[in-house]
């Protein structure tokens, strides 16, 4: 599979570049109370956050690595060698691209972020290592009362909303990596959409890791007030380093009565990144939280977006696409916690394993005995491309009581040699045939992505498949 390796590098080309940047603030390697004090001092944070971080550090140190169920590759993360905070200073992100320092701006320009913003976005935040370099919202959207800012600014400027929900959907001690994030978090978005406001265009965040031996720990909190609607998209890239890079985010969503939040991720980290992310949404009465999650990059991703349906008739949905290329492990899935009557959830997961890639699906569905009229539908389909490819499925479904329903379907398929021959007989090369098959496999899910992302996704799949044959 030596061919595959070179092709994968071409695939990563879009994000695989790096310009030198001078960092004014560097917390050094390793994480301890001094590191936390350094981060708090640089960011000028209030005491309650300093205490919150220190409590989280204790929990992080106490909690064992979850290798009794998760990949042992986690043991290859050397926490003492990671740098936990790197920034250029001037903490307030810029509101125009002209103000963004040249060395950082050219990175985002090369990634096409300002162009996308002009074309179809309501607001953009661009994070470079630990801090946002740019954050802006279209004037019209701001006038509706929508708040879109970095989490550091939010906790200082809007503590009345921020503090109410921060750490409430995902408690610090939820898992080892949520504790790590709570201790070291920096950057990420805060969004508040007032009652009844429907944000017509997506808000987007772009996360860029530029430094080696670095950990990015952004923290995002999105609150859609009663009847509000918002779509948030995130993208991410990093240059490829020989050493491991860590990305460990926490994302909390709160959809109040009748609100709708759609959260779209296209994850294309370079394949030296450990991507260990906790994402969960809370859906109140008649509210809807939908995660559209696409994982193409990283060395190891562990991510199981969840929805806690706390109000009657709340809906939760996870649409997940994972592409595990040579040497990659995409360990993804969904968690659906039904906590009120007549709540419904839907999980559709499709994974593709190429070369020695491994895709794992883990799903948790919980409907307790005392509830009535709850429904879950789970579909998970895996496609294996090469004989060395691997897929595993670990569904954990607990449905109690008589008035609830659950449906689970799973399939594993392969692109057969007859299918490839058939397509070749029509004039497509083997790689084109493979690529078309794979695109067909995920087609129904890709259609749920905004146009600009689905085109990008198709292109990434094409490039990945070129390397999978021969």
């Amino acid at each position: 599979m030596s061919n595959t390796q070179t092709q994968l590098d071409i695939d990563r080309e879009k994000g695989n570049f790096r310009y030198d940047v001078d960092y004014e603030f560097d917390a050094g390697t390793g994480l301890n109370e001094k590191t936390i004090d350094y981060i708090c001092d640089v960011k000028g944070e209030p005491d309650w956050i300093r205490q919150f971080r220190k409590d989280a550090l204790k929990k992080f140190l106490e909690k064992p690595m979850p290798t009794h169920w998760a990949s042992h590759d986690l043991e290859n993360i050397i926490f003492d060698k990671i740098r936990y905070y790197l920034s250029q200073g001037g903490q307030k992100p810029k509101k125009t691209w002209d103000e963004v320092p040249e060395d950082v701006k050219r990175t985002f320009e090369r990634l096409g972020i300002p162009e996308q913003e002009r074309k179809f976005l309501a607001g953009v935040e661009a994070q470079f290592d630990s801090e946002a370099a740019y954050s802006n919202i279209k004037e019209a959207v701001g006038k509706q009362g929508v708040i879109f800012m970095g989490s550091t600014d939010a906790l200082k400027e809007r503590p009345e909303i921020f503090r109410k929900w921060f750490g409430k959907v995902i408690p610090t001690g939820d898992n080892k990596f949520s504790a790590l994030n709570s201790a070291a978090f920096s950057g990420g978005s805060f969004i508040y959409v007032p009652p009844g406001v429907k944000v017509s265009h997506p808000l987007q965040a772009y996360f860029r890791i530029n430094a080696e031996n670095f950990g990015q720990f952004e923290r995002t909190l999105i609150i859609a007030d009663e009847g509000a609607e918002v779509t948030y998209m995130e993208g991410c890239t990093a240059p490829k380093f020989d050493t491991a890079t860590l990305h460990s985010a926490v994302v909390e969503l709160v959809a109040l009565k009748g609100a709708k939040i759609q959260y779209i991720t296209v994850q294309n980290w370079s394949n030296n990144v450990f991507n260990l992310v906790t994402k969960r949404g809370l859906a109140m009465e008649d509210a809807e939280v939908k995660w559209i999650d696409c994982n193409i990059g990283s060395r190891l991703t562990m991510k199981y977006p969840g929805v806690v349906m706390k109000g009657r008739r709340a809906r939760g949905e996870v649409i997940s696409i994972a592409l595990a290329g040579d040497g990659q492990h995409q360990d993804t899935g969904a968690k659906m916690v039904h906590a009120a009557d007549e709540t419904t959830s839907n999980i559709v997961s499709k994974s593709i394993s190429v070369g020695t890639g491994r895709a794992t699906y883990r799903g948790l569905v919980n409907i307790p005995r005392h509830l009535k009229g709850c429904k879950n539908n789970t579909e998970c389909d895996a496609l294996l491309i090469n004989t060395s490819s691997r897929t595993d499925t670990y569904p954990a479904i607990t449905v109690r009581g008589t008035g609830n329903a659950c449906q689970h379907e799973a399939s594993v398929s392969q692109v057969s040699s007859e299918q490839i021959f058939y397509m070749q007989q029509r004039g497509l090369t083997e790689a084109q045939a493979m690529s078309l098959s794979v695109n067909g496999f995920v087609n129904d899910l890709v259609r749920q992505f905004p146009m600009e992302y689905s085109v990008e996704l198709k292109r990434l799949i094409d490039l990945e498949m070129e390397g999978s044959v021969g």
Partner: protein, 254 residues
């Protein structure tokens, strides 16, 4: 005029020899039928011409206008102008007929050239009308959940769109009722012409009432044992294959 020439072809799958010195000359402008009992190697011949990787050519040659195509990948042969209408077409889940055919036509264009979408759809709809296919057919995934008749019609639609120099029709009549057979035959006949050569493989004479061949070959045990005009097909219909099998048995015994 172009020629597809099969020259003393020997083909094996694993240790088993299936084609044993088969020769055939198919020029453009003609329709040849190959008839024979089950297991005589008819489908193997079609797949080998198309370049199926399971088969090994042990000796002999396949020449497209004098040039051997044996070293060519299946997709290169297809782009050269060889089309196989499959007996059992594969399903391609999630890929619509419109997208599939567009990709196939795009693959025939020089690098950097884009297929013109309006012309493409105009042609696609014209050919679908010919085959009495409803318009919504284009948005269905290739062969997924198709009836036998729909699959065969879809094969002929692809042939009509790709306009091959040599078309190989493998048991195109199998699984078709009489109405579907008429529609499919009408589609095939409309593609006949001086620029196209066709090899129609069938077990039954019935298809040849609708697609009337210029020549008929009888294939037994991996070899052509008898060639003639369309009357030969009628003889087979009346007398079966036994009369043709006898000399073959002697030949093997000798």
């Amino acid at each position: 005029m172009k020629h597809l020439k099969i020259d003393n072809l020997h083909v094996s799958i694993g240790d088993r020899e299936i084609l044993r010195g088969l020769s055939l000359d198919l020029p453009t402008g003609q329709v040849h039928a190959i008839m024979g009992p089950n297991g005589s190697g008819k489908s193997t011949l079609a797949k080998v011409i198309a370049g199926h990787p399971d088969y090994t050519v042990t000796s002999g040659d396949i020449l497209f206008d004098g040039e051997s195509i044996l070293v060519m990948e299946p997709d290169a042969r297809a782009r050269q102008g060889i089309f196989l209408a499959f007996q059992y077409p594969s399903e391609i889940p999630g890929v619509t007929i419109a997208n599939f055919l567009r990709a196939a036509l795009q693959a025939r264009l020089p690098e950097g050239e884009e297929l013109e979408a309006t012309e493409y759809y105009a042609k696609l709809y014209e050919k679908m009308d010919l085959l009495e296919m409803p318009r919504n057919f284009t948005s269905r995934a290739v062969n997924e959940g198709f009836s036998g008749g729909e699959k065969k019609r879809c094969e002929i639609l692809q042939m009509a769109m790709l306009q091959p120099t040599f078309a190989l029709l493998d048991e195109t009549d199998s699984g078709l009722d009489i109405d579907a057979l008429k529609i499919v035959s009408h589609g095939v006949n409309s593609l006949r012409g001086p620029e196209t050569g066709m090899l129609v493989i069938t077990h039954y004479q019935r298809l040849l009432n609708y697609i009337v061949p210029d020549f008929v070959h009888v294939m037994i045990n991996g070899r052509i044992v008898e060639s003639g005009t369309k009357e030969l097909a009628l003889k087979l219909e009346a007398e079966g294959y036994d009369w043709a099998t006898e000399p073959e048995a002697e030949a093997v015994g000798a």
